[in-house]
């Protein structure tokens, strides 16, 4: 399209070309109208569920709105909660684009969190400028290895990654349970958790009034880098080709196995990074149930935007806001916070249905 512009065709002429208009319409429809419609429909069904179970819809949604936009603190909470979602969503997007169905972000998140905590506790006297990057890198690589494990099992032994990544989730969660009650348990030996990391390892806050920290900036940068890798590098090209059509990719001389293993590695890495950032930026220590299901929510974050890493920033913020707002809603309107899970699930269900209708207009 840019080329046509350069030859000197004015915008008006371009707009008159039916081809171009249908292109624009279709892109708008797919990338903006569909997600927005899905959200509206999901909120609508959510309202039906609320009223059917005897809640006041206006009050509940009002509280949700307040929970997100009510105060600077609340907005900050939304950003805070979106940080791991953006990172995990970005990784999921990379994996899904390559046809690697990584359901293991939860486990990779825990692997990264454990490794990051270990670095922070063991090398406590490192200065912040060295300590934090090292802890994050170690978190990234541990998560990456956790992901690559499933990748290698797939390309070497043809083991279905959906099964192996789910199994690796249990292993990682179990391992963390063991670590926080055994080798890494706090000195007091009271609770199943590690000691708190030292101040020099804590990621700083962006605003004094809010908990949101520089991890959010890292997440945005990672999403941008992932977008460049996916759409502007030979590696990303290979990954996309493999994801769309592994036969054609193999025929064209692309190494399908290594592309897929790389996607698994990178996908695990971003989830691991998210885990390390969560410990260093929010919780300050490792414990069981560190994640309220970020690894699975990340899948929804990616699916909502058709696995586009850059757009996971938007969908990550949306899901982060829903998550943060639901806490307030639970407090103020006494509506259980799990309603947001229902809404999130509905959003994805509507998105998938709309895309199906989009591809098969006649329903056949």
């Amino acid at each position: 399209m840019l080329k046509i512009l350069k030859i000197g065709t004015s915008w008006q002429n371009l707009w008159q070309s039916e081809e171009f208009r249908s292109d624009v319409r279709h892109e708008l429809w797919r990338n903006i109208v569909v997600p927005v419609l899905a959200i509206i429909f999901a909120l609508g069904v959510g309202a039906l569920i609320l009223s059917a179970t005897g809640y006041n819809v206006v009050k509940a949604y009002g509280a949700l709105w307040q929970g997100v936009f009510g105060s600077k603190v609340n907005v900050g909470e939304a950003f805070l909660r979106s940080t791991p979602l953006i990172l995990i969503g970005t990784g999921i997007a990379l994996a899904f684009r390559c046809g690697f169905w990584n359901i293991g972000a939860e486990g990779q998140f825990y692997a990264g969190a454990a490794a990051g905590t270990y670095v922070a506790l063991t090398f406590a006297n490192l200065p912040p400028w060295a300590g934090i990057p090292i802890a994050l890198l170690v978190g990234f690589f541990t998560g990456a290895i956790w992901g690559a494990l499933a990748g290698l099992l797939k390309v070497k032994f043809c083991l279905n990654e959906v099964v192996t990544t789910i199994m690796l989730n249990y292993i990682a969660i179990g391992l963390v349970g063991y670590l926080v009650t055994g080798p890494m348990q706090e000195a007091m030996r009271e609770n199943p958790q590690t000691d708190e990391i030292v101040r020099s390892f804590v990621i700083g806050r962006i605003f004094p009034t809010s908990r949101v920290h520089y991890g959010f900036i890292i997440a945005v940068v990672v999403a941008i880098i992932a977008t460049i890798v996916l759409f502007r590098t030979p590696l990303g090209y290979s990954m996309r080709a493999v994801g769309y059509n592994p036969d054609a990719a193999k025929h064209a001389g692309i190494n399908v196995a290594s592309s897929m293993a790389t996607a698994a590695f990178l996908s695990g890495g971003t989830a691991g990074l998210a885990g390390a950032i969560e410990v260093l930026g929010v919780t300050g220590r490792l414990f069981e149930n560190l994640s309220p299901g970020y690894g699975f929510e990340g899948i929804a974050v990616s699916l909502l935007v058709n696995n586009h890493p850059l757009a996971t920033i938007v969908s990550g913020l949306l899901f982060g806001a829903l998550g943060a707002g639901s806490q307030v809603m639970q407090l103020n309107a006494k509506v259980p916070a799990v309603l947001t899970f229902i809404i999130q699930g509905l959003i994805i269900a509507f998105i998938i249905s709309f895309r199906y209708l989009d591809k098969n207009p006649s329903g056949k």
Partner: protein, 513 residues
């Protein structure tokens, strides 16, 4: 023949003003025609002309947007294939709907009676059922063994089972969708004999095809479709192939390929004693041949006789169990597809959508599919869109790909344009050896002509070309030398100018030279 011109006869089937759209595409635009009792009515048209769509409407697979269907003069509404069968309409699809692990008789009665808890159940009276099937087969002189397993039958025999299946259900109108695509020339003649018997018994047959010779051989009347519209209806005895071709394409066409005599040079590809085993099944057994530069060697054969495996082995996609493949003296076995490509072997795969193209990629991305990672398309580790687009625009022009933009994804393009992308990508490498498998499958006459010319141009440039096709006419028209494959072996070889269809047909059926 007098019947055919008689408007007083109530037609077996009449479709009136059928319209069907898929999105913005009008697949059927006010299609009307009538099929009389006792005639073979041909539907002729290129791929995408709407033949299959209108038949799927008649068979209840699609619902028409507009229009009416009359059976024996009565208006009918068909909502499902089940209803179509109940009304006496049967269809034999291109891909057979048979269960390979069941016998012929079991396949034939499948779905016509309850499986259990009944005196007529399938499990209780096999013998009776086989007798029933046998009597039908004999009535229409169809050679068939009711107790044979379907998996043990040849393709031609399976097609016969499909026909008997339809007859068993009492059809009065039989629709055959491109029935000869999978048959040898001899099997085609047998099918035609069967069809003649059927129409003599008063059945009506709708014969969908894009092959002109077959229509001339079997049809009584032909309706020609183009771009979803009826563009003509002719009595076969009053028309000829040239006229039909022009109606079908909408312009003048050359039905023959013009080519200069070949001037072959040295051997480029030498294959010796090649064997391929796949899960214990030998798909290729001791294949040896060579292709010289400047010649087209055609491999004919019925689909599924090892041609696919041969092409994939040459392209490095599967590993042979024994034998050698040499390109200008260099061993190719064990090399990756990328290495073989760089050595000068280009491959137009059989299935462009499955192996040749990434359908969700743009035209530009597909053009660089085999070399996106090398200069000038990559600079400083990043893809260089400008270079990729200008390269793609050049090839788009050179190979006459009709696309509004190189950024369009290829799934939006027609089959012909898709194939031109594959062809252009491969030919632009100036290959030493070009393997073209089914290069014109599913393409319209114009695109087919174009691809044929390009293959001949490559030959004249000095490339060695291996053409693998199940379309015998194509092999005979383009090749300088013809090999015939049967059950993983080369069973016959002939020079193109000395070839004759009967001989090649016998080889295709496995009769040794």
């Amino acid at each position: 023949m007098t019947l055919l011109n008689n408007d007083q006869v109530v037609p077996r089937l009449e479709v009136r003003n059928i319209c069907k759209s898929f999105g913005s595409l009008k697949a059927n635009d006010h299609i009307s025609f009538r099929v009389l009792p006792g005639e073979v009515h041909c539907l002729l048209g290129e791929n995408g002309a709407g033949k299959t769509t209108v038949m799927n409407i008649v068979y209840g697979l699609y619902r028409a947007d507009e229009g009416q269907i009359f059976l024996d003069g009565r208006p009918i509404v068909i909502r499902s294939p089940h209803e179509a069968i109940a009304l006496g309409i049967g269809m034999v699809h291109q891909h057979f709907m048979l269960v390979p692990t069941l016998t012929v008789a079991e396949n034939i009665i499948l779905g016509t009676r309850p499986l259990f808890f009944s005196r007529s159940s399938l499990l209780t009276n096999t013998w009776e059922i086989e007798q029933e099937v046998k009597s039908i087969a004999e009535r229409y002189s169809l050679k068939i063994n009711p107790s044979a397993l379907v998996s043990s039958l040849s393709v031609g025999e399976q097609q016969r089972v499909e026909i008997v299946k339809a007859l068993y259900r009492g059809v009065r109108l039989l629709i055959l969708d491109e029935p000869t695509a999978v048959l040898t020339p001899q099997e085609t003649l047998e099918l035609f004999d069967t069809l003649r018997i059927l129409v003599r018994e008063g059945l009506s047959v709708i014969f969908i095809s894009h092959k002109l010779n077959e229509i001339m051989a079997i049809g009584d009347r032909v309706t020609i479709l183009r771009d979803g519209k009826v563009v003509g209806e002719k009595l076969v005895c009053q028309t000829n192939t040239q006229e039909l071709a022009e109606l079908m394409v909408g312009r003048e066409v050359k039905l023959t390929v013009e080519k200069k005599p070949a001037s072959p040079g040295e051997e480029v590809l030498v294959v010796k004693d090649l064997n391929i085993e796949d899960h214990g099944v030998k798909t290729l057994r001791g294949v040896s041949f060579s292709v010289r530069s400047g010649e087209i060697v055609g491999i004919a054969g019925v689909d599924g006789n090892g041609q696919r495996e041969l092409a994939l082995a040459l392209a490095g996609m599967i590993k042979p169990s024994a034998g050698t493949i040499k390109l200008c003296g260099m061993d190719l076995i064990g090399k990756s597809p990328a290495q073989i490509f760089r050595a000068g072997v280009c491959h137009i795969p059989e299935d462009r959508q499955k192996m040749g193209l990434v359908m969700d990629f743009s035209v530009a991305e597909n053009f660089v599919l085999k070399k996106f990672s090398s200069r000038p398309f990559v600079r400083h580790g990043l893809l260089h869109p400008k270079e990729i687009f200008s390269y793609a625009s050049r090839l788009t022009k050179e190979f006459d790909v009709r696309t509004p933009s190189v950024k369009k994804t290829v799934d939006k393009l027609s089959g012909g344009n898709q194939q031109k992308i594959v062809l252009g990508r491969e030919i632009d490498q100036k290959p030493k050896l070009l393997i073209a498998m089914q290069p014109t499958r599913g393409l319209d006459v114009g695109a087919t002509e174009y691809i044929h010319q390009q293959l001949l141009a490559q030959r004249d440039r000095g490339a060695a070309i291996l053409l693998i096709s199940t379309e015998l006419e194509e092999v005979m028209a383009l090749s300088d030398r013809i090999l015939v494959m049967y059950e993983g072996q080369i069973v016959g070889e002939t020079l193109a100018e000395r070839s004759n269809v009967e001989q090649i047909g016998l080889w295709m059926a496995g009769v040794r030279a």
